[in-house]
Amino acid sequence: MSTVTLRGVEAGASEAAVTARQLQDEESRAWLRDLRADGAVRDDALARLHELLVRAARFEVARRRVTLPHLRGDELDDIALEAADDALMSVLRRLDDFRGLSRFSTWAYKFALLEAAVKLRKRAWQGREIPLEPEAWNLFASARLAPDTEAELAELLGAVERGIAEALTPHQRRVLVALAVDGVPIDVLADRLGSTRGALYKTLHDARRKLRAQLAERGTELEEWLEES
């Protein structure tokens, strides 16, 4: 059996906290031991793990069902079950990555939540057009500024539009506008562009850095507008 790196117990931690962590570690060890066993022990562990993942996937579906009013309950449950099946494969594939830094159940849950969330986002955007041509965007044109909008704000928005047009590559512009303005979920965009969430976020991050740098270089004050009013 592989060694699991378990979280150390800090000096001075309360007795209750120490006990809780020891129990947590024992539970995690038991999961790993049983999932790496053979025969009936492994089969039982797989069934328990699948049950745990189904619970997480249904939890996510329940949180998001308002975004999919056209789907029936059984369709939503099919999505949850499919997400749990996919999550089970991911958990087993990545079992050696579990470091014992959280409960095993919390670690496993995140795979089911991710699978369910991605499937639901894609379902919500199924058949919807995503404007990907750089020429097709016009940031603030569709939402006219309120009559009392400060001139300062109008100036800022103009500077942002110029920054996007001048400082970014077409790909950065396309990704930034789709994600930040059109509200396309990153997984949906990754799917349409044949990319991954991680790669697209890197593009988004680089675009934001360049945009911030250009605005700073031109003396545009941003922070006041980024605070909640």
Binding site: R63, S102, R103, A117, R208, R212, L226
Partner: protein, 76 residues
């Protein structure tokens, strides 16, 4: 356009000012981050850059909210 909408769009365009981790690191650390939060420990100090990422990435933010809610639910 309301001031609130402008702020939301600007935040989406400009992202967090603080250094942040990427989506893959966020996913790898999310379970530990959530448990530190639930334990009342300093999750931000333990995993620098994750909170900033959550403010800049709506998908990871939603998954963080779900995991936090699910893990908290389990402890009740």
């Amino acid at each position: 356009m309301e001031r609130r909408d402008t702020t939301r769009i600007l935040r989406g365009l400009l992202g967090p000012a603080a250094p942040e981790v990427g989506c893959d690191t966020c996913f790898d650390e999310l379970d530990r981050f959530v448990e530190l939060e639930l334990a009342g420990e300093d999750a931000d100090a333990a995993i620098p850059g994750l909170r900033a990422h959550l403010s800049g990435c709506p998908a990871c933010r939603e998954e963080h909210e779900s995991l936090l809610a699910l893990a908290a639910d389990e402890r009740r």
